[in-house]
């Protein structure tokens, strides 16, 4: 075990904390995916809504936000459209 291997070890030192950080982000993401249980039709619905909306107003891709909220007795579909600033 010479000086060289000592430096090599130093350099690698924090891969464990990097692993932890990556896992925490990934797992938080995977949980939010499953816990909201978005219906499968959601992306398609959003796509088609964009087409309809654009017939009337010029909006960006991120101007339309569709999400499903879980309630006790029923779920609600929330649709948010940010209109462009009127001048």
């Amino acid at each position: 075990m010479g000086l060289f291997s000592f430096f090599k070890k130093e350099k690698k030192k924090n891969t464990a904390s990097l692993a932890k950080e990556r896992l925490q982000i990934l797992i938080a993401h995977e949980h939010s995916d499953t816990s909201s249980k978005a219906p499968e039709y959601l992306p398609k619905l959003q796509e088609e809504l964009m087409v309809v909306i654009r017939k009337y107003v010029k909006v960006n891709d991120d101007a339309v936000n569709v999400k499903v909220e879980k309630g006790d007795n029923f779920d609600t579909l929330e649709l948010n459209i940010t209109l462009p600033e009127s001048k």
């Binding site: 692993a19 896992l23 995977e30």
Partner: protein, 269 residues
Amino acid sequence: MSKVIVVTSGKGGVGKTTSSAAFAAGLAAKGFKTAVIDFDVGLRNLDLIMGVERRVVYDFVNVINGEATLKQALIKDKRVDNLYILPASQTRDKDALNTEGVESVINELKEDGFDYIVCDSPAGIEKGAFMALYFADEAIVVTNPEVSSVRDSDRILGILQSRSKVAEEGGTVKEHLLITRYSPERVEGGDMLSMEDIQDILSIPLIGVIPESGSVLQASNSGNPVIMDKESQAGQAYTDVVARFLGEDVPLRFVNPEEKKGFFKKLFG
């Protein structure tokens, strides 16, 4: 009241079978009538790890199909009283296990007075793994200090709490985190996730930490569950796991580099 415990992980090769064998042997040694079932259909291995491979006549699938009785298929361990092994079938038929069949076997074991039924799950999240966890009251989630294993454990926890029978009936499966192949030196060196890291991420109660140990390979070579090797750290760590499972308050061992006598000696002496 009998309890069904699944030993599961998602990821393959992390130590499920090693842990199932040790855990079941440990429970039996404490006087509980224990059965350990190999759910790894097509890749039977528990029989080898338990050293009963030459005594397999009938298997789990034979019992489900009515080709043998449970009594005929159960192998009684010759070293530990109260310990019985139900080997997996070597069939390549993926649908060999079904919920009705598995349920009837588990129910018969319960009626026969088994205290604990330990289910050694295959890797993956497919049918075999699902069958192994479906009837579980408690789960031992075997995790290695390594990113893919931790992620897969998280996935299997999600499946446990949504798709098991207990979950379907509105309950929760009791979870235990078992970290295996742990190297305190590498944790200290900063290139292995620590047990605290893993607990932070998975946030389930820790039942034990099994060190990386050459005695596991020796145990499997000789067909003795590693828990029977009272000298080895892995064996002792499994003994602690069993004690904690039974409600004893046992401190963790072999989780700090200092405790591993000889490490510094190896390095400097």
